[in-house]
Symmetry: C2
Subunit: 233 residues, 2 copies
Amino acid sequence: MKRRGIVLLSGGLDSATAAADALDRGFELYALTFEYGQRHSIEVQAAKRVADALAVEQHVVLPIDLAVFGGSALTGDAQVPKDRTHEEIGGGIPVTYVPARNTIFLAYALAWAEVLNAYDIFIGVNCVDYSGYPDCRPEYVAAFQTMGRLATKAGVEGEGALTIHTPLLTLSKGEIIQRGLELGVDYALTSSCYDPSSDGKACGRCDACALRRAGFEKAGVVDPIEYQSPGGS
Amino acid sequence: MKRRGIVLLSGGLDSATAAADALDRGFELYALTFEYGQRHSIEVQAAKRVADALAVEQHVVLPIDLAVFGGSALTGDAQVPKDRTHEEIGGGIPVTYVPARNTIFLAYALAWAEVLNAYDIFIGVNCVDYSGYPDCRPEYVAAFQTMGRLATKAGVEGEGALTIHTPLLTLSKGEIIQRGLELGVDYALTSSCYDPSSDGKACGRCDACALRRAGFEKAGVVDPIEYQSPGGS
């Protein structure tokens, strides 16, 4: 029997690449997507396209309320910043940071893992381009793994030890794209923009678009998605 | 200015006591209740009564879906067991265990703490009566605290260190009740039963009722709530 794994799938290019990596390692894959905040429909549609294309075993889309506490531009509290430089993007915690988001996402993944008897969770975080997010750092992921091993039946009964896999942790955006292309990821299916138009076109100017465009440029390939504005990075 | 604290408030007697303890220590208190699974309306009503009686600063009731993954009698997958002995209750992980529940609860509390600039979270877990739950053990709580310190802005910017307070951790149910009575908790407002009738009467026979009844007996006081069946422990 194949080993089961869970992947947190956002619809963006990082998580699509992490999912492809898990499949490449031979896991039977279960994908978990959260529906929250202002941009949920376009992101969730992208996640569904990616889950279909990768033929995952099961895809759960879970609505959660991250706006109830406030505190983030991605859940409606402030404007998404545009036209920032790479230095600005990398310096400090941005207003698009959602408090404890990865902890909430991984906590749900842990619950599903326990029900599935899975011990492997894949998350597409990386600490190169998103150095400003505390919950993308290697020491955070390691601490979650330690906590997760203690939190579950498997930890008590000694059945198996949870592993949080972060295949993109130390890769730059350009390297992530190169790795994904090797694995056959179709990036035309993904959506990265923090502020897309109602028809799903990326703004081209938010931090996520800026990092994505620079990544494709460094990888030396054309980004297959459409942008509202023609500018580059 | 008073220090802000968050308490996970279920409507049961443990969390009401933990909340009273936090108030007694001088915290400005924010209460967080989750609405999930089969018994939510009666539990949430009890949590609202307790939050009102304790005059907390704010009470958020957050609907979450813990049934989507299955795997627990408390979210509809199996019968709630009745008439078990204390040895049976203490031996192994019961079917009422909800996978990763405390991790999900604490993850949301962490998000709210970050928005409130709070560094103190109170949870009414104890490892005496609920030894079968992996996520009630001291080593689990300590690991969550370590992870939570790394997960947040405060951890990166050095503003403050998260503390997960577990004032009931090593108390028996009888001791919890004695402590709560000293603090002025009105246990008539609380609800502990895993399987109450539609009018809110406790079954008197599930694990939670058995532990509650035995606790009041040991504390030498009368349990002020109504039971469907007259039997005792």
